[in-house]
């Protein structure tokens, strides 16, 4: 197991290397000139050349990348072209807020998703099932912007149950987290429903029922653990998709997180910030996947992960 974990961590580092390389390459290829951006519109050609040289943008691509990598190893993510502050400081100041929203959002997703999925599976083919599945799908099919604006409009403006955006305590957190949870839960409820139906039909469940165990006990002890197995890798997968939703939700609710930082950096082609955010999200996603892979064997002993 230790060997396996070491191996996976080594892979994770390689993947991180790959991610940073591809991001850097993609941004290098974008037709925009950062030196011009910094120098402003009144700059002379000489000033621009000077800035380009200071930033090392006159070097060939591989040298620029190696330089970036060298700094990265020392924990230096570079300085923002637009904000002129350390990328690490910019990300650091927003990391807490994003982690908070992510944790709350994923918790909402899971609670809503698993509860609805279970209910739908148990009431399979009833009106409740159809209603819940339609609901889950409407959630999945709604653009984040619209859902966020709608919830904000109804619950903050009309009903005044929540503050209208901004950063703060639980009351500020709830609405954006619910937005993310509602829209993201569709995947989980569908997944839980279908895997639960499958599990319910398997022989060992019938055996358990035949042994005289109560319905509730069978569901909680036997069906649920088996049914949520596919949900676990989904969480890892979800973090990447989640980031996309975060960008929109954070900017609608004025939540000062990384999503908002990324969105502003993308609009301004602030390359060090974009690479930094990508790298940080990549770390989050890789850790998520790694944990998912490590947890599966404990829940579903039929899978021997060391073979994969």
């Amino acid at each position: 197991m230790i060997w396996f974990i070491t191996k996976r961590i080594a892979y994770a580092m390689l993947i991180l290397l790959g991610v940073s390389f591809i991001t850097y390459l993609l941004l290098y290829l974008i037709p925009a000139d950062p030196a011009r951006q910094i120098a402003g519109r009144s700059a002379t050609a000489e000033v621009v050349a000077n800035i380009r040289h200071q930033l090392g943008l006159d070097l060939p691509f591989y040298q620029q990348y190696l330089r970036y990598l060298g700094n990265l190893l020392q924990g230096d993510l570079g300085r923002s072209y637009v904000q002129r502050s350390e990328v690490a400081a910019l990300i650091g100041s927003r990391l807490g807020a994003t982690l908070q929203l992510m944790a709350a959002g994923i918790a909402c997703e899971l609670v809503i998703g698993i509860a609805l999925g279970m209910l739908a599976a148990l009431k399979r083919d009833s009106a409740i099932d159809r209603l819940l599945m339609a609901f889950s799908f409407i959630g999945v099919s709604s653009p984040h912007f619209i859902a966020a604006m709608l919830l904000l409009y109804v619950f903050a403006v009309k009903l005044a149950w929540f503050p209208m955006g901004g950063y703060g305590g639980v009351s500020h957190l709830l609405l954006p987290a619910i937005t993310l949870g509602l829209l993201g839960s569709g995947w989980y409820s569908r997944m839980v429903r279908s895997s639960m139906i499958e599990v319910l039909h398997q022989d060992f469940i019938r055996t358990a029922r035949a042994k005289g165990l109560t319905r509730a006990r069978v569901i909680l002890r036997h069906v649920l653990p088996n049914a949520i197995t596919p949900v676990i890798p989904m969480i890892g997968i979800d973090i990447g998709i989640f980031m996309g939703g975060l960008v929109v939700v954070e900017s609608v609710f004025g939540w000062p997180g990384i999503g908002q930082l990324a969105w502003q950096a993308i609009q301004q082609v602030d390359i060090p910030v974009i690479v930094g955010v990508t790298t940080v999200s990549a770390v989050a996603i890789i850790v998520g996947n790694l944990l998912a892979d490590l947890i599966i064997p404990f829940i579903d002993p039929r899978i021997d992960i060391r073979k994969s």
């Binding site: 000139d33 011009r36 120098a39 402003g40 000033v47 904000q83 910019l90 604006m149 004025g254």
Partner: protein, 540 residues
């Protein structure tokens, strides 16, 4: 047809603005009070040598001072940290007498050496200031800009309260340049202490001090009780909340949680604010030194034919474009905005005349039109405006494919000699750095801007007009100003004969503030302290 100039002096230019505030002028300003201001985008930096954004421009003006400034709410130049100034007869030497006893936020008195240091810091390439180029007329600029020296030879300090600046050529805009944020006075010891992070720990002489900054969330400005102007500022504290979506900010403003929505009114709410009397009271309208234009690359066929460019000028229905943006602008017929000295009120421009445009196009040898590309920035409403232009061009047979890209990509394409035939400037349009026509020429219509990576996306280079421009900028004496404005006006209308642009509209500015805010309306749409002059507003 001889052009006559009606707007003569700077102070007249925005007289309409000051008039708007008369109604409120009776009630005297009250000291005290805290307010909340919101912006959507992050405040990048408060370093006066670097900050160049919508949201930080007037914040920096409230934290720092320069030798010159403008009368609040107007474009009238007045001395600020300078008590007085004199200009030599040849127009090359400016001597500023500094105020005594002006203190930095750290308690030290501001001296002449600080002025010299600050200018040198901005020009020094290591600072990477986007404003360095403005100071190119100072003697010794080239040496400092190219790392050959670490001083500006042209700036000297005969004593602690005198600064003498020598220019390599007379420059009528120099006093405006000294009023730019980039000429703000900073204390060397604070810059040395914070290095590249000075922009996060600003120390100036201004009306407010930065008390707290939670990156990406909020900034807190508090009153500088040692400010050299007695009684100023009126407010005790300003809370800037960052990352607020404009629509949400407006909702909060209506609920009394926000006092100024810094990003103005989003399009969807604009008509509501304009037409509802309750909302109307909260919205202030002002002119902007801005023109939205379509550039036509004069080096690319078939746009290299002046007839084709004139045809395009006649093909575009500017009234309809203004309607599309809900009348938030006024149609334009020349590069200069109406509030700018030199604007020619009698100039008619090209009429909207589709038949004549078609005829011109046929004359130029394109009776069936041609295919081309229209570059545009990809944030609303720019792509919509581009589609309106596209339809107008289609009416005379020109098929323009829209390239809707990120701002940086459009700027890069425009600065590439043979890439972008047509560029709609919206979102990147020239907003004057200071209220002088010369700022509207060099970089965007003069030969100096028609270089790779430049901002002259029409690649228009008329050496004769450039020479005229030089002549106009050498007219520094106060009594020459009327003639200078006239000359500038003629340069721009003469350029329109070659039609490198289609000037489309002059955008207006709308600020929304809560009912409890006091002070003349002009302060909320200050043409220089963009967007709001925080020093002079107050709470009722």
């Amino acid at each position: 047809m001889k052009a006559t100039i009606t707007k003569l002096a700077l102070s007249v230019a925005v007289a309409s603005l000051t008039l708007a505030g008369v109604a409120q002028a009776d009630d005297a300003p009250k000291a005290g009070g805290d307010i909340v201001v919101t912006y959507q985008n992050d405040v990048a930096t408060l370093d006066p040598a670097i900050g160049y954004d919508w949201q930080n421009w007037s914040m920096i003006k409230s934290l720092f001072d320069g030798l010159m400034d403008y009368k609040p709410g107007t474009t009238e130049l007045v001395p600020d940290l300078a008590e007085s100034y004199t200009i030599s007869d040849d127009g090359k030497t400016y001597t500023f007498k500094l105020r005594h006893g002006v203190k930095f936020h750290n308690g030290r008195e501001m001296k002449a050496s600080d002025v010299k240091y600050s200018l040198e810091r901005t020009v020094n390439p290591k600072t990477q200031s986007p404003g360095a180029g403005f100071f190119s007329s100072i003697v010794g600029f080239d040496d400092l800009a190219s790392d050959k020296s670490d001083q500006l030879r042209g700036v000297t300090t005969p004593d602690d309260y005198t600064v003498q600046i020598t220019l390599s050529a007379p420059d009528a805009t120099f006093l405006h340049v000294m009023a730019l944020n980039f000429a703000s006075v900073v204390p060397k010891e604070a810059v040395d202490k914070w290095g590249a992070d000075f922009g996060k720990h600003p120390v100036g002489t201004g009306a407010y001090k930065l008390a707290d900054w939670a990156l990406g969330q909020r900034l807190e400005f508090v009153k500088n009780s040692d400010y050299y102007k007695p009684g100023i500022p009126y407010l005790d504290k300003i809370d800037f909340e960052i990352g607020q979506e404009p629509t949400v900010a407006l909702m909060r403003l209506e609920r009394g949680e926000v006092d100024i929505a810094g990003d103005g009114v989003p399009p969807a709410r604009f008509l509501q604010f304009k037409n509802d009397p309750q909302h109307q009271k909260l919205m202030v309208t002002g002119d902007q030194l801005q023109t939205g234009y379509l550039t036509m690359n004069v080096t690319m066929a078939p746009l290299d034919d002046v007839k084709v460019r004139q045809a395009i000028n006649m093909a575009i229905n500017k009234d309809r474009i203004v309607r599309i943006i809900n009348g938030r602008a006024k149609p334009a017929n020349q590069p200069l905005p109406p509030a700018m000295p030199g604007y020619d009120k009698s100039y008619q421009g090209y009429p909207y005349d589709v038949d004549k445009a078609k005829a011109l196009l046929a004359e130029a040898g394109h009776p069936n039109g041609f295919d081309t590309e229209l570059y545009v920035m990809n944030t609303d409403p720019q792509p919509r405006i581009a589609q309106a232009i596209q339809q107008d061009l289609a009416n005379i047979g020109i098929h323009a494919e829209i390239k809707s890209l990120a701002q940086a990509n459009v700027i890069a394409a425009g600065g590439d000699k043979d890439q972008a035939p047509l560029v709609w400037s919206g979102g990147m349009a020239w907003i004057a750095d200071f209220p002088d026509p010369s700022n509207f020429w060099g970089p965007i219509l003069g030969c100096e801007g028609a270089v790779s990576g430049g901002w002259n996306w029409a690649w228009y280079c008329n050496e004769k007009l450039d020479a005229e421009a030089q002549k106009a900028d050498a007219m520094v004496a106060p009594e020459q100003q009327q003639a200078r404005a006239e000359l500038w006006g003629k340069i721009f209308t003469d350029a329109m004969v070659d039609a490198p642009w289609v000037p489309i509209f002059n955008e207006q500015r709308f600020t929304v503030h809560s009912a409890r805010m006091g002070g003349s309306d002009a302060l909320y749409v200050d043409p220089v302290h963009v967007p709001v002059n925080y020093d002079y507003i107050w709470v009722k």
